[in-house]
Subunit: 197 residues, 2 copies
């Protein structure tokens, strides 16, 4: 079905244009006209794929969340040790390099917008829930393997770890010199060390 593939590819192209534009100018800059320009499309062609700005933003957010999700899933394949896997999947949420700094900036812009947009808020919830569950499951595996103390509540700890990563990301985006990449990693590692059996 080459036509379907093409359709998905073209939507992905538009989502990438939304992220580029939002990273440079903020989500306020996202309009059907500006995204069409950024992607090198006509406004008419874009409207064929997305009816309005809201749909465009929602699709762009989901595309970004899926991209992160795929990176996390890949880490599951490459790392056998469950605690090391949890660590790798947490570090993915930190703005440790330029690409992830840009990614996190757009992520937090979506968050600001989601506060008053129910469909976007739902997409945020789904993304955070998936991240928390992934970390929780790794912690439980680590607990069963005897790496993590038996009394750790893996569900609560997953929320705290995701919270720590998110909160460090907020500070690091505004003050990259204060919270260097190595400092961010150290702070997450210190918390993980505290869970060890």
């Amino acid at each position: 079905m080459p036509k379907v593939v093409d359709h998905e590819e073209r939507r992905a192209e538009l989502a990438a244009a939304v992220w580029r534009l939002a990273s440079r100018e903020g989500l306020e800059a996202i309009t059907v006209r500006r995204v069409a320009e950024e992607a090198g499309w006509s406004t008419g062609a874009l409207v064929h794929y997305f009816g309005d700005k809201e749909e465009l933003i929602l699709f762009a957010f989901r595309t970004g969340a899926d991209r992160v999700g795929r990176r996390l899933a890949k880490l599951d394949e490459h790392e056998a040790d469950p605690l090391a896997r949890a660590r790798a999947q947490l570090l993915e949420g930190l703005p440790l390099d330029r690409d992830r700094q840009d990614e996190m900036r757009v992520w937090f812009s979506f968050l600001g917008l989601a506060l008053t947009r129910p469909t976007l808020a739902r997409a945020q919830r789904v993304a955070y829930r998936a991240w928390r569950e992934r970390i929780r499951d790794r912690l439980r595996e680590a607990q069963e393997a005897g790496q993590v103390r038996a009394e750790v509540d893996c569900e609560a700890e997953a929320a705290a770890l995701v919270g720590l990563v998110d909160g460090l990301a907020v500070q690091a985006i505004f003050e990259p010199r204060l919270l260097s990449a190595s400092r961010q990693v150290e702070l997450v590692d210190a918390r993980l060390e505290g869970l060890r059996a």
Copy 2:
């Protein structure tokens, strides 16, 4: 100087209108016209105090940050124990009741906007720095009093604690049932317990 007091009061009135409107409809709704309506002013009267939307938003953010700062300073007066003071000042950043839920929603909207607005980003940096330094100083006092282990790096730990609180707030705003007030407090307490000598 009654005129000066009046001027400050009227600016504060406008800042309150910005927070109410932003809490209901998001920062996108903030325009000179809408804020004038919300405050029951004429647009002309408002423009006398704030030249444009940017100034209005910046002033509203600072007003909110000052309000939080005054609450934190008050906690210093009412609590002698330094570790209990750090705790109280961290809990102020959690959306534990309806008022603070509204406050945090607007706070994170400012954050989204600050990513592409240098003056707002500066104001954010100042606010987070003040919060971190306050927590760091309490931790150092607690360390000197023998409450906190000597090897704790209070500067790094303050960034981690502020990060934890901020990250929990993000998740709690979108999923209040999942992260109840008591669960949020427990997670912060668990981290503070881990610092004890």
